[in-house]
Amino acid sequence: MDRRLTAYLLRRVALAGVMLFGLVCMTFVIANVAPNDPAALAAGPDAGRSQIEQARRDYGLDRPLPEQFWRYVSGLARGELGRSIATGRSVGQDLARYFPATLELCLLAMLIGLSVGVPLGVLSALMKDRWVDHLTRIFAVSGIALPPFWFGLLLQLTFATALGWLPTSGRLSVMTEPPDPITGLLLTDALLRGQWGVFGEGLSYILLPAIVLSFPCLASILRVNRAEMVEALRADYVMSAQAHGVNPWRIVCVHALRNAMLPTLAIIGLRWGWMMSSTVLVETVFDWPGIGLYAVSSAIAGDFKPVMGVTLIIGLNFMAANLIVDLLYGVLDPRLREG
């Protein structure tokens, strides 16, 4: 890695640091505009005044806000994300437990999105203004328009309840012990450990939520890819490749698609963050034990430290995804590589 790239990376990381601080400030403000009393939550329903005051001291809620903020930020610097008021558990540890589930879900969804979206985009572009194209476009817009929670319920109703092909919710059946973690991603671990049964079962559980989650992303990829393919197929270099008698398949799959994939890549970077964000809906529907469900249940209970933690993790993911996309751009686009 040369020095320029290192310097660039450092600059981006520093920028990300500033953004994260901004995020922390924002979430902290939100957590504290609420006219609620977290100590009452911490102390439990039947607690008397003495227990509530005890909880207030335990969680440092009796300190002035600037001090609380300082404690939170300095905790972050040490890698601590604070404690959940409702459960007293460390948010960092909770996230470490739930994030792999979400990551696995998002990775699979992205995989589905790419492997369906790109070919459909190409097909649609090749068939521009034919009925295949119209159908694909309506399909693509549907992906964005379908409420994920409703779509999820419909899939559950069809494939789990009516047909009984797939399980309704959860990540594994009750009697299946998850494989010992290597990566923390259940499917990967099952594969690495050669536990095919667990892998198959895990797949049957993740399939529906991953499909629902992938839909908007798939649709975006499809739309961008189609538009860019249409553009690329009209481009002068495609015409000259045709004139030079280059194999038509190669023109589509290499000459045009390579160019169309660049903007598609940018969309993937953007969508990664959105996708993580929409896990709050999908995980709620499918009882998927990830950070989305964690965020929703905490937020509804008025427990904000977990929500702040989830916001930070998703923000971080968003930034990382965009950094990776920028770097990939440099790899794929020779124009960016050298002056």
Binding site: P35, D37, G44, G48, Q54, A55, G88, T161, V174
Partner: protein
């Protein structure tokens, strides 16, 4: 309704045949499912129905509640004595009780556990905190422990079953920074109960193994003993119900009345439907705003459509006839407790500061509580007759409690479920004491010094008959002052496969909580 049958046939029953209960080797595993997670297992830090169900499975206490009406039976303590002045309680422990690591449950463990709970000052601590100081718990000998209260406290024994005994050796070994093992105990157990933790993921699944050599033995006999129990958290009603139908779960709870009426019709499924102890009331703000006016409160109470409470629950509820639940000692049916009577309602309204209505009142419920929301709709519908608008607001628990802590901010009306943790009437009566002001069950900021005096007196009264007399009067007075709409007691509901045996109901347990110890599968 043929159409519904048809749907049911299509949606629900097809897969049922291919599933059976879980097995672990030769033994069976019971899968129980509810909606509520168990984030913190520490018995001295937290309790709610799901948490306490698991705590009850892995821990033992000196005494235990059983049956309906609930009785207190000896458990770790084979017997106990109370001194004549009502201050000193002496418990004698059984000889054979062992923690899961093999060490004996001795008097020191009991002392340690009570002290730990009091010092942590969380969870259950409120029950005894004001009467018992840690230094007044003495391990007299290895099998005798004595508690000396600061002042007489009649409900003492009714709380003891919720004070679980933890293994001092394990707790001390895992203490960090003087936290008395709090961090470790969040996800680990140090108990002597009938079950051990096998897998603990408080948000998704808790797998408990039976302890074969449990000191108390197994009521169903060794042959019927389960391999263990899985508590699976399924947050949504529909998939939970589907899980029961597909036999992915053997027993489920947190059911809506409509779920029950649905499941009742299915073969192989049994409904457990029992009168509960939790009261639902709509607390008025008696200090500030329009509802400070007793005539308005009465008007609302007479306008409310009580029958809708029963209809909403498909009949699985009974109306309150007193502030106290019927199962509570000292309960009386208070004569004249309001029922819908629009003429009377209008009469009271005419006497209030708002003779023609024309006001909007806020009705707050905990966000996500379906029943409370629906009752809000019913209230809204009822009060239209008085030309009173209702603004239904769902708020997080924290916000609701924080608002209710002061009369200035407390909502006009707040829907509140209250579950007494013991059978002693003081548990309920004390809600109406000044000390409860601002706590969630004290949101009405009920102000009647005479009632307060009677509550204090009843609390310290040793004579049972006199105590009950006092409580009867307290109930009458409270109904007179109408600090709330006295609502209903919803039935506790479970649905289980018919091969699930050993279920025993006790109203003192919290909403979905079951005693897992006696349960087994007969198939």
């Amino acid at each position: 309704m043929p159409s519904r049958r048809h749907i049911l046939g299509a949606f629900a029953l097809t897969p049922g045949t291919s599933f059976a209960f879980e097995r672990d080797g030769a033994r069976k595993v019971l899968v129980f499912s509810g909606n509520q997670a168990v984030p913190v297992l520490d018995p001295h830090v937290r309790y709610d129905w799901s948490t306490r169900m698991v705590q009850q499975a892995v821990y033992d206490a000196l005494l235990k509640y059983e049956g309906s009406p609930p009785r207190i039976v000896p458990w770790l303590a084979e017997r106990h004595e109370v001194s004549a002045d009502g201050l000193s309680y002496t418990f004698h422990l059984v000889s054979n009780a062992k923690f899961h690591d093999g060490s004996t449950v001795d008097a020191e463990a009991v002392r340690f556990s009570f002290e730990r709970a009091l010092r942590l000052n969380a969870g259950i601590a409120w029950m005894l905190k004001d009467f018992l100081r840690p230094e007044n718990i003495v391990a007299v000998d290895a099998r005798t422990v004595r508690f000396t209260l600061d002042r007489p406290f009649a409900p003492f024994l009714s709380y003891v079953p919720w004070w679980y005994i933890v293994n001092p050796r394990l707790v001390t070994a895992n203490a960090v920074d003087g936290d008395m093992g709090r961090r470790w105990m969040t996800e680990n157990a140090a108990g002597s109960g009938p079950f051990k933790l096998r897998r603990f993921d408080g948000n998704a699944l808790i797998h408990l193994d039976t302890v074969p050599e449990y000191w108390k033995g197994w009521p169903m006999g060794e042959a019927g003993r389960l391999s263990g129990v899985i508590f699976r958290i399924i947050r949504e009603a529909a998939p939970r119900r589907a899980a029961l139908q597909r036999r992915e779960a053997d027993a489920i709870t947190n059911l809506s009345p409509d779920d029950i009426s649905q499941l009742q019709r299915l073969p192989g499924i049994r409904i457990e439907d029992h009168p509960g102890l939790s009261t639902f009331g709509i607390k008025f703000n008696t200090q500030q705003g329009p509802t400070a006016d007793i005539n308005l409160r009465k008007a609302i109470a007479f306008a409310f459509d009580y029958d809708s409470l029963i209809t909403i629950h498909n009949g699985a509820a009974v109306l309150q006839t007193s502030p106290f639940p019927p199962a509570m000692a000292g309960h009386i049916d208070v004569p004249g407790i309001p029922r819908r009577d629009l003429a009377k309602a209008r009469e009271y309204l005419a006497r209030s500061r708002f003779p023609n209505g024309g006001i909007t009142l806020e009705y707050v419920h905990v966000q996500g509580l379906e029943d409370a929301r629906r009752i809000g709709l019913s209230l809204l519908d009822s009060l239209r007759a008085l030309n009173i608008q209702v603004n239904i607001v769902g708020q997080p628990w924290t916000t609701m409690v924080s608002r209710g802590s002061k009369p200035d901010t407390a909502p006009n009306m707040t829907s509140v479920y209250v579950t007494p943790v013991g059978t002693d009437p003081d548990t309920v009566a004390y809600q109406y004491h000044r000390d409860s002001w601002g706590l969630f069950y004290g949101m009405s900021h009920y102000d009647n010094p005479e009632v307060w005096r009677m509550i204090e007196a009843a609390r310290a009264e040793g004579d049972h008959a006199k105590r009950m007399e006092l409580y009867a009067e307290i109930q009458r007075r409270i109904v007179d002052d109408q600090p709330e709409i006295f609502g209903m007691l919803a039935n506790r509901l479970w649905a289980m496969r018919d091969y699930v045996k050993g279920f025993s109901f006790s109203p003192v347990r919290l909403s979905g909580e079951v005693d897992l110890y006696p349960m087994w599968i007969d198939a």
